[in-house]
Every structure is written in C-alpha cells, then in structure tokens.
Amino acid sequence: MLTSNGQPFATRFWRGCLWLVIGIASTWVVVESSSAQQAATAPKGYEEVAKPFIKQHCVGCHGATTTKAGYRIDLIGTDFSAATVADHWKEVIDRINAGEMPPKESPRPDARQSAAFVTWVNEQLRQVDLDAKKAGGRIPMRRLNRDEYANTVRDLLKLDELIVRPLIEDLPSDGQAEGFDRLGVALFFDQTQIERSLGVAEKIVSRAIVTAAPKENSFTNRFDYLRKKPPPDMVEVFPGFAHTIPRGARDFFVHPDHVEHIQGGPTYRREYDGWGAIVHFAIGQVVTQDGYYRARIKAKVDNRGRTEPNKFRLQYAVDSPIYVEQEVAVDPSGTTEALLFLRGPVNGEVKGPQVFRLLWNHTEKAVIREPNYVKLFSKWTALRGRTEEAITRRAPPKELDELKLQRDDLEKQLNAWEGQANIYNPDMDLEKLPRLLIESIEVTGPIQKEWPPASHKSLLFAGDDRQDAAYAREIFAKFLPRAYRRPVTDQEIDAIVAVVQEAQTTSQLSFVLAMRIGLQRVLCSPGFQFMYEPSAGQTERRPLNDYELASRLSYFLWSTMPDDELFDLAASGKLRDPSIADAQVRRMLADPKAEQLVRNFGGQWLSIREYDSVQPAAEYKDYDKPLQLAARQEPLAFFAEVLSTNLPITHFLDSDFLVINERLAKHYGIADVAGPEFRRVAIQPVHHRGGVLGMAGLLTFLADGTRTLPLRRGSWVLRQLFNDPPNSPPPNAGEIQPNTSGKNLTVRERLDLHRRDAVCASCHAKLDPYGLALENYDAIGKWRERFNGEGFRGDRGPVLDVSGELLDGTKFSTLEEYKAILMTQKDRFARAFAVKLLTYALGRPVGYTDQKVVDSLAVALQKNDYRIQSLIHGIVESEPFRTK
C-alpha cells in the first residue's frame, strides 16, 4: 500500500515495503508455481494419498529439518517414468512392507493408511511398466562373451576343447554387470577387442584348417646317465663336510637294462605322502606345441608281499599355470601308457618349466636314516638354527662362545662318525617289500587323433583337391548358416568369398591359406559375434523367431551355439511350440553341456571366480593347495547335484548333505570319506554344515586371510541370497581397526564400538546379524567355538557370541537357529534366486518393469516345491525370454 504523501521517510519506508511485498509475492509465486507444477505433473492421487502419508509418517525424520541417514523423502520426485524415481518409490514401499519403516519406536501408521499408500505407489509403477513394455524392457543386442565364444568355436569348428581354451587367452576379460558377465551392457567392443579378436581368430583358423601335419617328436629316457655316473658309495656326513661315511642301504639299484627301486625320492609335499619321486627330466624338445602326448613307461613291479595296487603319477610343469597331473595304474603287462594334454610354447614363450616327473606309490620309510646318525644330524641342525637366531638378536658374547663350544664338540662327533647313513627299516621285512623295475620312459607327440583333423574335413567337405572359386562358395554356403546361427543371404556369402579371392590375388596366398583368411573373417564378423535379433522400426515387443529362440535357449543352458537337433526344429518352425520347447529344455538339462550352466551361473552367483583373491596368512597351517582346489570345486559340485536331481532351491540355504571329497571332509571333521573325487555325503547336525553358508571356499573369500569379515559375510548373504543389498557406506565410514597392542577384543566387540553411533546403527542393525551369525566359521571356514586368528590360539581366545536379532524382531543365539530363520524366509530367497537366474537368462538387468514376471515365477516356484528345474522351465516360457 503506497501513500501518495511524498514525505521522504515515508516514501522510502513504503517503497521498502513495496519491494518487500513484491519480494515475498515473487517467492510466493515461485513456490506456488513449483508446487503447482508438481501438482500438475504429479500423478492422480498424489495429493490425496501419497503426500499426506509421507508428511505424517516420514518427513519428520527424512525431511529438510531432520535428515536421518541422509535420506530426503520429500525430494524423490513424482515422475515415475524416470527410472531412479521409480526405484526410490519402490524402495520406500518395500521398507514399509517389511516393517522396517517407520522404525519401531515411532507411532505405527494406520493399517488402512499404509495399504492405501502402498497400493497407490504400486499402481503408478504398473502404469509405467505398461508404458515401458512398448519402448523398454527389451534385451539389447549383445556379443558373445569369452566363454561363449570359446564354446561356440569349439562346437562350430569341431575343435578339441583343450586346444581351443589356450587360444582364447588373448581375448580381453569381460565386464560384469549385476554380478554376471553375459549382460550386454557390460560387453563392449572397441579397437582392442577387435584387434584381439583378429589375433585370436588367426590362431584358431591355423588349427582348424591345416597345411602339413606337425612333426611328431619323441624322447626316451633309459637312465643311461645312472650307468655313466653311478651314485657314489660314500656320502658327506653333512652337506659341506669333508668327512664321508658309507651310504649304507640304497633305495635303488642300477642294472644293465633297468633300474630297481625299493623306494622313490622325497617329494617335499604333504599331499604326496605315500608317493616317491622316481625320475624327472626335461621334455621341451618334445613338447613343441599344445597337444596330446603319449607317455609310455616300460616297467614292472615285483610285488613280493604287497597286495594293494601299484600306481604311477605323471606330472608336467609342476607349480605352474600349465601344470598337468594324471594318475594311472601300473599295467602288469610291463608297458603302461597314458595320453596327456600338454601345453607348449606360444609365440616362443612357455608358461612353465617343461619338465616331466614320475611318481610311484612306494613303501614309505622303507629306507631310513640310521637312528643314532639322525640324532647327531638333528642336533647339528638345531644348534645351527640357535646360533643364527642368537646372532640376529645380537646375543651377548658369552652366549655365542658357549654355542661355539657346543658346535665344536658336535663337529668332532660328526667327523668321528663311522656308521652308515641309511639303513633298511628294521620293522619291515626287506624281502617282502615290492620292487619297481623300470626300463625306460618314452614321451612322444604331438599325437594327432585323426588327420586331417575333424575341423578341416568338415569345412573342406569335398577334400583338398578342388581349389576353384565355386568350391569356396559351396564351402561357405554350407558353413555360414551354422556360423551365423540362421539362414543367410547370398550377399553375406559373397562378402566372405570376396575376402578369400582378394587374399588369393593381392596377397598371393594359396587356396588353403586364403580359406583361412575367409574363416578368420567369419569368426570376427558381427553376424557371428553378436546375438543378432533385428528390430528396426519396432515399437512393440515381438515374439522371437525359431532361430533366435534356439540361440537364446542354447546360450542360456549350454553357453554355446544350438546343436543339430535345435537347428532342425527351428528350420521346421516347431521350436516355438511350448510343449516342444519344454521337451527340449528337459533334454538340454540332461545333456553334459549343461555343466556350463552350473559353472557360469552357479559359479558367478556363488562368487567362485573371486575365491583366489584371498590368501590366508601363514598362521593357518591347515590351508594347503588341495584344500584350496577342493574348496573352489565344492560349490559347483553342490549346485550340479541340486540341478541334476531337481532338488528344491532351499537346499542352498541349508541341506542334509554335502558334495565333497576327502580333503574337504577332513577340514569339516567328517569321517569315512576317502579319495579325491567329489561325492554326495549325508551329514548330521553335529557337523555344523549344510547349504552354501558352510562352504570353506566362500567363507575364506569372505575373510581377509587373517580374520573373519562379518560385515562382508552379512553383505554377501543379503546381496546374493536375498537380492537386498545393504546401502553403501557413507564416505566417512571407517574400517574396523586391528587390535591395538594390549587389547584382546574379538571382531564382534570391536564392531560394537563402531556401531554405537546412531547413524551407523541405522544400517548396521539390518546388516550385522547376517554376518555375525557365521562367526563360528573362522577365516578359512573351519568350525570354532572360540575366537582365533590374529594371534589368538587355542584356548586363549574368548568364547564366541554369534547371537543376533533381525530387523523384524526375530532373535537367534546359535548358527542352527539362524539357518532355521533363513529357511522361514524361503519365499524371499526364492524370489531373489528367480531374479538372479532371470537376469542371467535374459542377459540384461531385471528391473521394476519385470515385477509381474518375477511374481509369477515366484508363485510357480512355491507351487512346485521350490524345485530348481521348474524355475528354469518357467523362465523359458516367460514373455521376456521369448520376445524381442
């Protein structure tokens, strides 16, 4: 209101007021228009249902004035078609549904109010879902990942699996998304990928299409070096000493045409107890490339008193990435043969020592050190150790002098020793001990199983004589539909033939070499490398054609191209018939190739590929190589059992059996399991195992090599088993410090100190119990009642407290109770498992647009007793799987 007086002060005052009013008015207008804007774009019902509910129950803690856990519920936005917005709303109602929000201390919302709110949100999501079906939710085109590429090349070209595997090593590793490496969003193409593709394809085609057979090399070891330089009769009393003593009992005798062994040499490994080293020698001159090599051992065993079977162990490149080992029974005929796949140099470089070693399951301790000699010997080594230790800690001269006196005395005794070094074990009857009589060992190769190889013969189907252009065309006309996994056009065939002809004219290559270039071109082609599903001009989803369906099926269950039966069904248009597709799924699951589903889905779901990233500290003496290898194998073996016998998936949560071998049984304290093969073993509650949460490999991975990591374990359970990942920690979340000296707190106790902060507790209350419940498994997955690791040993560790309380109030005090609670959550688990398997099958992330599909899969699982194969059938029949 402005007066018209004109008095200076008044004018200024009122002018000020005017500006103030205008100022307020404009902000008021701005505010009003933004909320009006919000009201205008907000979906129907927002003002009546959602806004009041949030205002009453949520904004108090999650608004501008108080912002618990940094979460502003009033800023989410109302445009449900924006993906993040929809996800936020989904999370809000998930929390409400789970009873997590509002928190227990706050007044509960009226049940009808909650229901109305949740329903409203769901309606919005469903609406957006319908819209999205038209544009989104499609499976984007993706390329084959490394494993799929290798398997496809193997099957397409009929190459040996072992030959193909090393050839693809140069391909860059695949990116992962949602925990799997077959999602299109993470599988990119760039110049490195293309360049490596070309290089790898070159190597493959030179194996697939051959010119001349590689030379077969051979080497025979007849132990002549032992005859030229026999082991001496006298040996040093101690390495480095001049005084020598008689060797005494020998473990082997050299004869003119063979060597007779009573015992083999030391192997220096616990896992080879009962085995003696007979000989080792270099075979680099034989193993010139990757391939099959034959070892022929001319040897017999004079069993005498022995009743158990004689065995050899053949080893190559021990302790290297190309290590190979095979056990074979000693053939009584006198010639034992074995065929081994050995890796040789690639581009002049070999990944390990090309040394062949032979072990025999001899009689342990048949030849031993003479006992008095041993006493002297060990005294000397012990004394030497004590001296070194004293020097390092700079002991006083008196002590060093005393030690020197002792050393001098012992040295005199050693130099005076006249007895022999070795004797035959007096507790054994020497005459009854078996003798290995070995004449020679021959290694020959590379052995060709057939020549030309199957790959060559099937490509150049009319033989090697024809070299005309028409032949090239016929070859690719036959080959390309299989390579591209669909019928092809003449243009596509012409493109390949053109490359062959160019190679012949411009590069002056022979027919065969030019054909290699053509094949290389096919292997790098987008038609081969991409899962091709044309969709130009599409506005809605369309059903897949039979060929596309065949590929989706075979890559889902076998990680490779369709086989002949699938191609035939596709060609006759029968595959789209649900009952035929169903029958195919059953056939495919029973086929050995389904092992790829176990390895690629199971392996990634259970994080197996990452197990080797954690190396237990030296204090865990139980952790050895056989345990490491067995622990990697166990989850796969278990998954394979559940899949092949079509068990309920709840077995992953808890089970009354394990699939283990002897080494794992020893680790778990289960008796009567012998041998390295994996087999199903029934267990009792006293063993404290069952399901995946008791598996040593997983538990070792979810630790840091020194102590357990309950938070990582809890996070894994929530993420992988319940698809409910915990929120990311805030940037300033610290790390649990190791024990400062003097304090002896368990991990749980240290975690408690950390959790007392209310902000931390808001997330940790949900997360911690899931991991702390597993504290009975130590950092290498062994059962414990007391805390160990980090220097605690045996009875010095405090007794463990694994109790916990979940967010909905259920309590548990032992691991068994915890697992029982997990079992009551089986619907939650089933849904999560369905999402994971669906993600893997579709090759794209599963989002809110798929909720209906996931719902029906979860319901079907429930009806079918949670059996795993029913879920696979359900996924194959689902709409996203069968449409583009």
């Binding site: 085109m141 490496d181 110049q191 293309i194 490359v499 270039i517 991409f530 130009a536 020194t706």
Partner: protein
C-alpha cells in the same frame, strides 16, 4: 631480432637413413638444429627437447611414520625412507596430504590415473590420463606410450589390476613386465623378412577390416535404435584400429634407434611371472630400459604399475630375509617386528627409486639432463597413515626442472585430490586439459610446483 643464422634442423629422416652409425652421443643432441652434422654434438634448443611424463605406482601404501617428513619446505629433515634420495633432494618434491576419492586402500590401482568410481558396481570405466597424454603427443614417437607393470597383462576380470592404462572405451591396456623383452620391442631392428611379413599382415588385415565394416553397416540398418548403439561401438572400434594400424605401418619403415645392447645376464630371474625373480636386478634393468626409451625419444609417456595392490608381486624382499609379504606388513597391528620390516622394505624400494632418478640425471640433454625434461610421478593408492585410507597418500613429483617445475622440498596439501597433481603434469607437458578430466576428480593445479 635473431641475427644468428640457424641451419635448418636436420630432419629425422636424414639421420635415420644413415642407419648403422652407432650412437656416440646423446640421440637428441645429434638431431638438434645446433649440431653441425650428425656426428658433432651440439646443444639442443629448449624448444626442441621433448617433454616426457612417467607415472609410477607403488600399491598398498607405505610406512608413513618413517616416510612423511615432520617439517615442511625446502630444508625439511630427511626421514629414514627418504634417506636414499639425499643427494637428489633438490630434484623432487614430496607432496603430502593428497587423497584419491575412490580408493579404498586396496582398489586404488584402477582409479589412480583414471578417477573411475571403483566403489560403484556399475561405474563406467574411464580413460587414464597417460592415454590422454599419449593421444596428444603420441604420434610423434614410434610408441605413443608404454604400459609397464610388475605382472604382464591387464588383470582385468581377475582380482587386482596389472595395468594403469585405460583406453577411451574403458578397456585396459596390457602391460609388459620383462626388461629384456621391452628392450627388444624398442630397439631390436626388424629384419627384412619381419618387415615383409608385417606389411603383408597389414594388407591382409585391412582387407578383412574393410569387409567387416561393410557388413556391420548393412546389419545396422536392420536394427532398432538401441541396438544400433552396439554396432556403432563396433564401427568406431574398426575405425580406431585402422588408424592405429596405419600409424604403425608408417613407423615400420623407419629404423629403430641404434643403441648398445644392455647386458641382461641370465634372463631367468627377470620375469616376475615366473618363480625365482631376482627383484632388485629386475627392477634396475627395467629402469635402465625406461631411461633408454625416453632418451631415444621412442616414447614420451610411460605408466608403470611397479607394485600391485593386494599381492604386491615384487616378492617383498623375501630373499633379504623379510618373512612377511607387503600386504601383511601394511596390516601390522602395531607388531614391532612387522613395523621394522615395513620400514626396511620401504627403504630398499626407495634405493631402487633413487637408482632410477640418478640414471635419468646422468643422461645429459641440452644444457640439462633427461631428468630435467621428464616429469616423474611416484604415488600409491594407500594412505601413509593406514593402508586402508584413501588420503594422505605418499606422493612425489621428481624432475621437470627445465619444464618449469619448481621443487618445494616437502609440500603439504591437505585434502587435495591426486587428480590435481595430474593437472599440473598436463600443464607442464603443455597439453590442454581434456573435458571431464579424471571424471571430475581434479579441481585445479598445485600451483606451488610451477
């Protein structure tokens, strides 16, 4: 007014055509416009000297208690771990307090040169700054950049990275870890046969690539718009590859620098991928080859992942009696024995680093040294206070005095991003900063250093 008549600079090709003359004097001086002929030394003009950058990464942090000096400025007191660098103290700056946002102490290798958000599962992999430099200056040299590491390959898909270098498409570049193999790649002359072979290979590959490109274009028309993206990626890949192949082909015919063969001794023991690594001998030979590569202008950008996050890969001085691996020592838990070995190990690593810097300093270039014309960055993913921290990183910038770097002794920059150091490097390399540098993990230069 320049009254001095300058002879036009000897074009490189002239010198190179006279291949076979053994290198009697520093490579670049012979090329300089000040040299009277190919065999007479002359001073190289500052504008002709190439600028180089070397990024070295030592994973898992360092024992900050014996590394970080207590005082600041040019006259700081040397700590035990910095002792080996005593004679070089005017040639480097210790920059304390820097942070690497997305490092967790153990996964900082990937974010070190890229700024990638390694915490988020769906984070997009970014280009590393050494590759951005290579894009700018790489075409001047036979090798746009060298990617080196303690383990060969990329490590991608595995547990820890083995490379620091990432392309613009977010793919890792594999690293080399054998000094003798690197030497061959850099200096072994191609025989006439090899050249013929490689040129024939070029022709074959180009033919295949042309054919692939056509097919991709044809297929692209049948795809929906989201799928066309994927094929566009493919086509871009082909185009990038063809351009690189063309560059390599152009360099094929130019002879490599003629340098005296280094005596590698027994090659067994120089391959960190095999058992029996002789670490110190390996490391010093590797540094020798790096120095030669820079000296001969075979490359101007080098990244070297000298110690991995996680399993370190160096053997951690086991042969000198250290019973612990590097990771264990960073988790010392105040154990005095572990702490003692931690410091001792770091001192030994630093001795090798001193060797490297001295090597660069011993090579004369113009009126300075190779070190003066090279920006050498030493850094880690783990903090100096605690290995799991992503701040207070042990970092050092050495060299570059003739590129405008002013060393400050011990410089403390609290809470400043490591990316700012890289920004400073770009500034001294006179390369404009790319858009979205380090994905936002850089917000300025460290002005004190320039």
């Amino acid at each position: 007014m320049n009254i001095l008549k300058r002879r036009p600079t000897l074009p490189r090709r002239t010198f190179l055509k006279a291949a076979g003359i053994s290198l009697a004097l520093p490579w670049l001086d012979a090329m300089s416009s000040n040299s009277a002929s190919v065999t007479t030394a002359g001073d190289i003009t500052p504008s002709e000297t190439p600028r180089r950058a070397v990024f070295c990464f030592f994973g898992l942090g360092i024992n900050g208690r014996d590394f970080t000096p207590a005082d600041k400025g040019l006259d700081y007191t040397l700590t035990p771990i910095l002792e080996p660098l005593a004679e070089l103290r005017r040639d480097f700056t210790v920059v304390s307090g820097l942070k690497l946002t997305y490092s967790g102490g153990h996964v900082g290798d990937r974010t070190f040169l890229t700024g990638t958000n390694t915490r988020s599962a769906g984070a997009k992999l970014r280009i590393s700054c050494d590759q951005e430099l290579a894009q700018a200056v790489g075409r001047e040299t036979r090798f746009p950049s060298l990617t080196l590491g303690i383990k060969r390959g990329t490590g991608f898909g595995g547990n820890y990275d083995q490379t620091l270098s990432w392309t613009s498409a977010g793919t890792p570049l594999p690293s080399e870890n054998r000094p003798h193999v690197l030497f061959d790649q850099l200096f072994r002359p191609d025989t006439a046969d090899t050249l013929k072979q490689r040129e024939a290979e070029f022709i074959r590959r180009t033919s295949v690539l042309d054919s692939l490109r056509e097919e991709a274009r044809r297929l692209s028309n049948t795809l929906g718009s989201d799928d066309q993206h994927k094929l566009d990626e493919y086509l871009t890949g082909i185009r990038d590859l063809e351009r690189r192949m063309q560059d390599e082909k152009d360099w094929l015919r130019k002879p490599k620098p003629n340098v005296e063969t280094l005596n590698f001794g027994k090659e067994q023991g120089l391959d960190p991928d095999k058992a029996g690594l002789e670490y110190r001998r390996y490391q010093r030979l590797m540094f020798d080859v790096i120095a030669l590569a820079l000296q001969t202008d075979s490359t101007r950008v080098i990244s070297y992942l000298a110690r991995m996050d996680g399993q370190d890969g160096t053997g951690s001085w086991r042969d000198m009696g250290n019973p612990y691996n590097y990771h264990e020592m960073t988790h010392h838990g105040e154990d005095p024995d572990k702490l003692k070995w931690f410091t001792q190990s770091d001192i030994w690593y630093m001795e090798d680093w001193a060797y490297f810097l001295n090597r660069l300093k011993s090579i004369k270039e113009g009126d300075g040294t190779l070190l003066d014309h090279t920006l050498v960055a030493y850094g880690s993913s783990g903090g100096a206070i605690n290995a799991h921290h992503n701040h207070h990183l042990p970092t050092m910038l050495a060299g570059g005095s003739r590129l405008g770097v002013k060393h400050q002794g011990h410089l403390v920059k609290e809470d400043v991003r490591l990316g700012n150091l890289w920004t400073t490097v770009f500034d001294r390399m006179q390369v404009p900063l790319p858009n979205n540098f380090q994905g936002g993990e850089a917000d300025g230069m460290i002005k004190e250093l320039v």
